[in-house]
Amino acid sequence: MTSLVARGVGIDRRLQPTDLDVQGGELVALVGPNGGGKTSLLRALARIEAASGVVAIGGEDVDLTPLARRRHLLSFLPASRDVTWPISARDVIALGLDRPDAARIDELIAKFELEKLSDRPVNRLSTGERARVLAARALVGDPKILLLDEPLSNLDPYWVLRFLVIFETAAQSGQAVLVALHDLSLLSHFSRALLIAEGKVQMDETPASLMASERFEEIFRIKAARGGWVISPLAGPRSSP
């Protein structure tokens, strides 16, 4: 069973040193207020900037892994959907592979229903369509860990549900999937939820117990009511750190 072991990962001023263990097969949601550190945690785990600490995947220290091996360990999907260059959707997906593998790319094109878009330049697609292409790029190399920053934003309702199914399938096949998201109604699809605020993992529980707790209400400044959410009476103007 592969696993992600992070020790003391942090980014100056945005993420305090954090320890985290994730097993293969887990589908983990990262939730929290804007600017709380969800993206920073994903970036630190992907070793993007001068992040401190150590991340090991299946026992391999990511920082010491050679370039060619690294894409088998993890892949990172940023929240930005911007692509400057007129590269075809098929070619963008191929960038996620070491060497061209038409069969594997076709598999991903079918999974994300991109058949009609596969030859169109990706910078001319709608944001939601581009989101599907970029997600396919992140998944095509079949890495052990998927680090996905808000993959569900800009998607229509059908595609939100389809993405969740794709994530669940990935987890069932043994991959560990970490997803930052804002829509709390989707938390029931996840096996574990991290609440991140003020540069720190504040809670780490099952989604149900997370949402039921008072800390959750305190940090998010909302509470469940009448099958939806209302602003919590506890909420005052937050003192900024």
Partner: protein, 318 residues
């Protein structure tokens, strides 16, 4: 399509080497050795320089565009060419350098200075407006500084002398001058070509590239340094030539299916063809004084540049 490119390059090279045909023919009739002399001592350095400079502009233009993630970045619009010209002028007319290799170094230092200034002012992945304005400001300042350096130069003839080559002139360059420009330029351009795959991957954004184990900051520094050396060395020998470095990568990317790093090779071929054509035009004009090659490339390049800006604006508006 690639075949067509190679065919055009071959035709361009042959035409550049052999045209005008009459002097060669007459020399051949007089003395075959004289014809060889014209071909090897006079024409070959010029042809090599034209092809090499054109290729360098294509490669460095494509690399800079990939790095800035902006199809309007290029050696001229980023101010690198102007900086190289300033460096070569200061080296040649103030420091009194005559050694071609030292002048090439001055050109490279000037180009490096302006590119570093651009990154400091605009940032590495600046939006188009910031990049253009910062590049324009730097190019204007470097141009003014060049004029000042020429006006105040110890030699009263500096201005006239510089006019002869500053905007692009390939006439009467020796083989050793060509080598002084082309050898450092070729090494730097080859180092850029080695980064094609890395630059292709930065198309997905710096964060994705970094998550794959690349170092975007270091890659950017390398692209800037190698572009500066290759462009600076060429400018010091043949002057600053605009628009080829902007236009060649645009067409290069049509052949690389949009990939910004793989576009370097086709952009090199296209740049060489364009510059050979421009120099042929200059040579065909029957005047007793030289027309700068940069004038020809600007005349043909400006409409293309305008077209690029208009299509970009339309895409942003859509």
């Amino acid at each position: 399509m690639k075949l067509l490119l190679f065919a055009l390059l071959a035709i361009g090279t042959a035409a550049h080497l052999l045209l005008p045909w009459t002097p060669l023919q007459e020399a051949q009739a007089l003395n075959p050795e004289l014809a060889d002399l014209i071909l090897i001592e006079l024409r070959l350095p010029r042809t090599l320089l034209v092809l090499g400079y054109g290729a360098v502009l294509g490669i460095s233009g494509a690399a800079l565009q990939a790095m800035f993630a902006n199809p309007l970045a290029s050696p001229d619009i980023s101010g690198a060419s102007s900086g190289a010209a300033l460096g070569a002028v200061v080296g040649g007319y103030w420091l009194g350098l005559t050694q071609p290799l030292l002048l090439a170094a001055c050109g490279a230092i000037g180009a490096l200075g302006t590119l570093a200034l651009l990154v400091a002012l605009a940032g590495r992945r600046a939006d188009t407006t910031t990049l253009l304005l910062a590049g324009l400001a730097i190019a204007l300042a470097a141009g003014a500084a060049t004029s000042l350096a020429l006006a105040l130069a110890p030699s009263p003839f500096a201005f006239y002398d510089a006019y002869d080559w500053l905007m692009g002139n390939f006439a009467d360059r020796s083989l050793s001058q060509a080598a002084a420009g082309l050898i450092p330029a070729t090494i730097a351009a080859a180092l850029l070509l080695l980064r094609a795959r890395a630059l292709d991957l930065t198309a997905l954004g710096e964060d994705v590239a970094a998550s794959l184990g690349l170092r975007p900051r270091r890659l950017a520094m390398e692209v800037i340094a190698f572009s500066a050396v290759s462009v600076g060395a060429c400018v010091s020998v043949a002057g600053a030539i605009g628009f080829v470095g902007l236009v060649a990568p645009v067409f290069g990317r049509q052949l690389s299916r949009g990939h910004p790093g793989s576009a370097m090779v086709p952009a090199a071929l296209i740049g060489a063809i364009l510059l050979a054509a421009a120099d042929l035009v200059v040579r065909a004009i029957p005047l007793d004084r030289p027309i700068p090659v940069g004038v020809v490339t600007a005349l043909f390049g400006t409409p293309l540049f305008v077209w690029l800006v208009v299509t970009m604006r339309r895409r942003v508006a859509a």
